[in-house]
């Protein structure tokens, strides 16, 4: 073994610093802040959380907790039904907003508002609209029919549908915007040629628009599903998980356990979602890092 202390660069095994170019040293220095954040606030919490959720007893307790089963079903409904409805509407609206009209340009500026404003005040605004005694909706129902309106948020099915509605209200503009970009990327010549051939509205969509947009559409749907798993606000601020803890989704359930000081259950409920989340994440990463 050569004595590297002598500083002789010709000998094998030079010190690390001389094997790196100055640019690479700077590269490491500039990457360091993110690595530190990542280690301290992602790696450590995740490992610590997994360690907390290690006892099998947690999973038995979750299995026996009817609220957990209900939350899992609610989450599935939210993702499978809610997101697909949202993306379908976004696809339709992207066609609407791609029309060249001045008033549609202005409408698209207004349409983005739900995305641009914070969700807390708007969700609370919807919550009060649905208030059975003082809300504007039941006031209108009363003035038109003379009957009292339903107690909207007191029925778990209606309450969950409303939470999905609030979620759609909030994130529809974003996905519509993405799909509009996809639509505008399609060559206009194709549509003109189809027009000449006398293609119907449906044929144009079926044979031109859809084939060029389907990859984008599927990517958006999957991405939206992953993110919606973390949508805490729509459920928590509208229904608070009620009535009787029947409208929880996984993200609000974790916080519920945390509030009840059952941290290991909170972590275990998140671990249970991982077999569904990780394949989706893997798939998305494959797609995006091509």
């Amino acid at each position: 073994m050569a004595i590297t202390l002598s500083g002789d660069q010709a000998l094998p095994g030079p010190p690390l610093s001389s094997r790196l170019t100055p640019a690479q040293v700077w590269g490491i220095i500039l990457l360091a802040p993110y690595l530190l954040v990542f280690l301290a606030f992602v790696v450590y919490p995740v490992c610590y959380g997994l360690w907390l959720a290690r006892a099998p007893a947690n999973y038995v307790a979750l299995y026996n907790d009817p609220i957990f089963a209900r939350a899992a079903v609610n989450t599935l409904i939210f993702l499978v039904i809610g997101i697909n409805i949202k993306m379908l509407i976004a696809l339709l609206l992207s066609g609407f907003f791609a029309q060249q009209r001045t008033w549609i340009k202005w409408l698209s500026v207004i349409f983005i508002l739900p995305w641009a404003v914070p969700s807390i005040p708007t969700i609370l605004s919807v919550r009060f609209m649905l208030n059975p005694e003082w809300g504007v909706i039941n006031h209108l129902i009363f003035s038109f029919t003379g009957d009292d309106g339903p107690n909207w948020l007191n029925d778990p099915t209606v309450a969950l549908s409303m939470a999905i509605g609030v979620h759609i209200w909030k994130s529809l503009p974003f996905w519509t915007l993405i799909l509009i970009t996809g639509r505008l990327a399609i060559s206009h010549d194709l549509f003109e040629a189809a027009e000449v051939d006398g293609a119907s509205w449906w044929q144009k969509f079926r044979y031109i628009t859809w084939p060029s947009m389907q990859t984008l559409y599927v990517t958006c749907t999957l991405l939206s599903m992953i993110w919606t798993l973390g949508d805490f606000n729509s459920v928590y601020l509208l229904t608070g998980g009620g009535p009787a803890d029947l409208t929880h989704v996984l993200s609000t359930l974790g916080i519920r356990y945390l509030r009840l000081d059952q941290l290991s259950l909170a972590m275990a409920s998140i671990v249970c979602a991982m077999p569904f989340v990780l394949p989706l994440v893997y798939f998305m990463m494959k797609r995006l890092s091509r």
Binding site: V37, G49, S125, V126, L216, M285
Partner: protein, 283 residues
């Protein structure tokens, strides 16, 4: 002037048939909030579509902090501003440095770090909230603004790095080579060549991080609890604790809280749409 044909009128009518419901759907919750803000309590609770006596009295109460729920309004507004600004600056610093390192300096292992960041981006933030809460407790940062700032930087930087990396890959490599030929050091390239060229993306990412932090509710309410430490959204959530919540004041405060991000969004829309949608989903 040429009269529009029947077919044009029919197309226009069909477009309006979509446009009007879209407009109503978008505006109703926001209009409802605005309605409450300008209504005295009696009008707000009577389900009117326009108050009999519109007033700015609610704003006066908020700005003079004349209610139990509003006694720390200015402090909380300041907390929100400070935290959003800190998250914006820190995210920009961390993400720009990382993107420059990965994309321009081709640091060994850069690809792995990028993939790890991307992975973090896809994990729902609400899932990370539970372990993050305990971690901040272990670090002794609970009820300290730094806990929320660091948590939001953690959440904002993966996407920031990814978008900035995509943008810097598009810069021609000849620029760096030319600068090296002229004897520029790495830091000079970063400062004098890289940063100016990246400005549009940096504006977009800075805006993204600031808005993310300003709008955040879940982390803010988990990590901060003291009335003088919390941010505005947590204060809004706390209104619900009372049975007889002053909803007209809640909506007024919410309206004031919603204005800055909306203004920022519209001011930087040009950058946001280009910078973010290009990176958000690559088909």
């Amino acid at each position: 002037m040429k009269l529009p044909s029947l077919r044009d009128v029919a197309t226009e009518a069909r477009l309006l048939l979509i446009g009007i419901p879209v407009f109503l759907w978008t505006m109703i919750p926001i209009y409802h909030m605005f309605l409450f803000a300008i209504s005295p309590k009696e009008d707000a609770f009577s389900g009117k579509l326009w108050p009999d006596h519109p007033t700015l009295h609610n704003f006066e109460i908020v700005f003079k902090q004349q209610h139990y729920f509003l006694r720390d309004f200015y402090v909380q507004f300041w907390n929100s501003t400070l935290i959003a600004a800190a998250v914006g600056v820190l995210t920009l610093f961390i993400a720009t440095a990382a993107a420059f390192s990965i994309s321009r300096l081709k640091v060994p292992g850069g690809r792995i770090v990028l993939n790890l960041a991307l992975f973090t981006y896809f994990i729902p933030a609400a899932f990370l909230a539970v372990p993050m809460y305990r971690t901040m407790g272990n670090y002794g940062l609970l009820n300290n603004h730094w806990s929320l700032i660091l948590a939001m930087v953690t959440i904002a930087s993966p996407y920031a790095i990814w978008v900035l990396k995509q943008a810097s890959d598009k810069l021609p490599v000849e620029l760096d080579e030319a600068a090296v030929m002229d004897g520029a050091t790495t830091l000079q390239i970063f400062r004098l060549v890289y940063l100016p060229l990246m400005m549009p993306s940096l504006v977009a990412i800075g805006t993204y991080a600031v808005l993310l932090a300003w709008n955040e509710y879940l982390y803010a309410f988990l990590l901060l609890s003291n009335d003088r430490e919390i941010t505005l959204p947590v204060a809004l959530g706390n209104f619900l604790a009372a049975d007889d919540s002053p909803w007209e004041l809640l909506m007024t405060t919410g309206f004031i809280y919603a204005l800055p991000p909306a203004a920022v969004y519209y001011a930087f829309r040009r950058y946001m749409v280009g910078g973010l949608t290009a990176g958000a989903v690559k088909s």
